[in-house]
Amino acid sequence: MVTKLDKAEVVTVGVGWAGGIIAAELAKAGVQVVGLERGGHRDTQDFQMVHDEYRYAVRYELMQDLSKETITFRNRPNEDALPMRQFGAFLIGSGVGGAGVHWNGHTWRFLPYDFEIKSMTDETYGPNKLADGHTLQDWGITYDELEPYYDKFEKTAGISGEENPMGAPRKNPYPTPPMKSTPILDRFKDASNNLGLHPFMLPSGNLSENYENPDGQFIAQCQYCGFCEKFGCEYGAKSTPNVTVIPTAQETGNFELRTHANVTEILHDDNRATGVRYVDLQTGEEFEQPADIVVLTSYVLNNTKLLLHSGLGRPYNPETGDGVIGKNYCYQIIAGATGFFNEKFNTYMGAGSLGATVDDYNGDNFDHSELDFIHGGSISTKQYGRRPIQNNTVPGGTPSWGKEFKAQSIKYQNRWLSVDSQGASMPHRNNYLSLDPTYKDSFGNPLLRLTYDFTEQDNRLFKYISDRSAEILDEMGAEIVEPREMTDHFDIEPAQNDHITGGVIIGGDPETSAVNNYLQMWDVDNVFVIGASNFAHNGGYNPTGTVGAFAYRAAEGILKFRENNGQLVKGKNKNRMA
C-alpha cells in the first residue's frame, strides 16, 4: 500500500549542502519545498561525545549503513563486480547535513582551465595530448560565469582564507581571514618559498573567527581541537548545512524536512517527473510524494543510481560511447610524500582545514609541453589533529606488527609530516557507473555498479606530483623522505579519498552531457541534479566549493524554470566525442 501525499512544489532527494542550499534559496523566495533525507536528524548538540576516534573514524558512526545499500565494484568491464561489503577507499555520508557534517571544510574554486579543459588543452598542446579512450570534455560553463555563485557559497559558509597567487581570480576577498598558522605550516611555507613556489593558507570551512552569514546564521570560531574529518563539530565552528542553510530554510516556514525518508524511485510520465516514491525506514511505510520539480541532491552514487533505476536519461554505454547517465566517473589521484623528522611536532593539535598549499603544479599552471600527462593538483601540508589508531606511519621496511613496529610507530607518532595532493582525475570511457545485474539493496532494487581503474595518465601525474611533494619535504628538513607509490590497480579496500565524481555530468551538448549549466536535465525539464556527480572530470582540489556554487546556480535556474518552463539552455552539438 502506497500512501499518496499532497503535491509539493519542489522535492529534494537528500538534505546535505546541495539540498540545504536549494531549500534555503527557494524557501526564501516563497516556494514550498519538501526535503527527503534517509538518515536521521543531527545538530550541534549531537556532537558532545564526538572526540572518539574509534566510534567515528574507525566504526564510521556518521556513514551510510551498508547492510541496507552499498555498491558493487570491479576494475574492468570484463570482470564480475562484487559488493563493497565494508567501507574502504571512500566513505558515504548519511543523515541530515550529509557529508557536509563530517567533511574537513577545504573549500576551493576550480581553475578556469577545469571548465574549458578540452578546448584549452587542445589549443595549447594539440588534440592528441591524452591517449585514446579519455572522454575529456568542456563543462558548458566558464569560471567567470560561475564566479558569483562561488562567492555566494563562500559567504554562506564563512570561508576563512587568503589570496592564492596561482588560483582562480576572485572579485571579493574571503569573508573571514585565514586560520592561525603553526610551526608545521610555517615550515612548509618557508620551504615552498625557498623553492620558488607560491604558498598560501588553505581556504577553510573551520572558521578563524566568529561569523554571521548573510542569512543571519552564526558560525563559531574554530578551537583547533583535532577532531574534524569524519566527526561533527561540538562548537558549531565547522561550516555545515546544519548550522547554515538548513536553519535558514526552516525559519521561512516554507521548508518541511522529513528524516528517515529513503527515496527509491523518481516517478515520471514519459519525459516529465511527477514526484518520488519513498520508504519511511522507521515504519516500512511507502509514500508517493508528487511534485512539480524534483531535485536530486544526494551523493554522487545515489544521484546516478536513482536516474538509472527510474529510467530517466540515457544510460551510458562504454562500448559505443553513447548515453550519458553513469559516464565520466572520476576519482582523486592522491600523490604525495611522507617525511620522517628528528624533531617532534604538536601534530595532535589541528583542524580539518588547517593547512598550507601551493598551486604551482595544478591545472595548467605549469608547462606540460615536455610532460606526458595533463593537469596536476594542489599540493598541501595539513594539520588535522593526528589521532593514534589510524596513524601508525613508519619508515619503509619496518614490519607492520611486533616489537620493532611498536617502537617505531611510537617514536614517529609526532615526527612525520605529509605533503600531498588532491590530484586531478581524467575521465576514461571504461570508468563508469551502471546497475548491477546480481546484487540488490534492502528494497530488492539493483545495487549501483562501479567500474574503475587507474590509467597511464593517472600514473604519470601521480609520479610527477609525488616527486614535487618529496622536494618540498626535503627542503622542510626531513631526515627520510619517501614519495608515495601508486598501486597497480585501484583497490576498493584501503582508505584513500572520498572525492568520487561524475555520473550525471554538466556540459553544453545534450549528446555528451546529462545536465545543462543550470544543472537541469537535458532530457527531463523538471528534474535538476546537483552534486559532484556533475563534474565532467575531477579537478586538483576538494570538490565541495564547486558543489556549493552549482547548488546556488541551480537554485537560480529552478526559480527561472518556475516562470518559463522548458529548457533553460539551448544545447550545442559541437563537442561530440569521436
Binding site: 558532545q48 563493497m84 583547533y224 624533531e343 604538536n346 595532535y348 607492520s400 606488527w401 607518532q413 598501486t487
Partner: protein, 246 residues
C-alpha cells in the same frame, strides 16, 4: 626545553584554566556553556579504573582457551617493551571480546548478502564469515598449526615460534575455512591497535597508557592558545568519561 617540562607538569585542570577554552565568551554560547556545565573539569580517574575491572569478563568467547590464544597473539602484535605496556596489560583482548559480541562482530552495518566469491585482490573483503566467526575460525587454525608444527598449544610456544606462525598467517600461508589467513591476521592486527589506542571506555587503552606512549592527549577541548608553540607540549591525557555528568 623549559616549556616542555613546565607543560608536562601542568595538571589538566590548570591547562583547562589557562586555555582559551575557558574564555568562553570568545566562542559564544550554547554548546560550550552546556559542556562546561557538566563536570568536565573532574577527572574521576580512580573511580573509572575500579569500575573497569568488573568489565574484564567475557561477552563473546565461550571458552577461556580461545581467549587465551587471542591474548597471546595480540601480545606478539603489540608487545610490552621499554615504551610501556603491551596488548594484554592494556586490556586489548577484552576490548576485542566485547567488540566481537556486538555490531562489529556481527557486521551489522555491512553488506553480507550473497552470492559470495573471493574476487580479485582489489575487490576487498568478500568472506561470508561474520567477524566473530572469523576470529573463532582463525584462533582454531592458530591452535591447529601450533599442534601440527610444534606439538604444543599456541599459548605455550616460545615468542619466536608464535611469531613464525603469525607471520605465516599474514603471508596467506595457511588455509582456513571461509576466508584467507591474511584476512584473519589483518583483522586481528587492526583490532589490536584499536584496543590499544581507543578511548578507555571500550575496555582497552587501560589507564590511557596507550595514549601516554604516543604522547596523545585524548579528548581536549581547545588548542587555540598552544597551536603556535615551537616546542612539543606533553599533556596529561583526558578521556570521554569527563564529558558526562554523574
Amino acid at each position: 626545553m623549559a616549556d616542555e617540562k613546565e607543560q608536562s607538569k601542568m595538571s589538566r585542570r590548570r591547562f583547562m584554566r589557562n586555555s582559551g577554552y575557558v574564555a568562553g565568551g570568545a566562542i559564544g554560547g550554547g554548546i560550550l556553556g552546556s559542556l562546561l556545565g557538566t563536570n568536565l573539569l573532574d577527572t574521576n580517574q580512580e573511580t573509572a579504573q575500579e569500575t573497569n575491572d568488573y568489565n574484564r569478563a567475557l561477552m563473546f568467547f565461550t571458552r577461556q582457551k580461545d581467549f587465551d590464544i587471542l591474548s597471546a597473539a595480540t601480545e606478539r602484535i603489540f608487545p610490552e617493551d621499554e615504551n610501556g605496556p603491551g596488548a594484554i596489560a592494556l586490556g586489548v583482548p577484552y576490548f576485542i571480546d566485547h567488540q566481537l559480541a556486538g555490531s562489529y562482530g556481527n557486521n551489522e552495518k555491512e553488506y553480507m548478502q550473497g552470492p559470495f566469491s573471493p574476487g580479485t585482490d582489489y575487490q576487498g573483503y568478500q568472506s561470508p564469515l561474520k567477524r566473530n566467526e572469523l576470529f573463532l575460525v582463525g584462533i582454531q587454525a592458530l591452535e591447529d598449526e601450533s599442534m601440527n608444527n610444534y606439538n604444543t598449544t599456541f599459548t605455550e610456544l616460545e615468542g619466536e615460534q608464535q611469531d613464525e606462525l603469525l607471520q605465516a598467517f599474514q603471508n596467506n600461508g595457511v588455509g582456513i575455512k571461509g576466508a584467507t589467513s591474511a584476512t584473519f591476521f589483518e583483522t586481528m592486527r587492526s583490532a589490536t591497535l584499536e584496543g590499544a589506542y581507543s578511548d578507555p571506555l571500550y575496555g582497552g587503552n587501560a589507564n590511557m597508557d596507550g595514549w601516554r606512549m604516543k604522547e596523545f592527549p585524548g579528548s581536549q577541548m581547545s588548542f587555540i592558545d598552544e597551536l603556535d608553540s615551537e616546542d612539543f607540549i606533553e599533556m596529561e591525557p583526558n578521556a570521554l568519561r569527563s564529558h558526562i555528568s554523574h
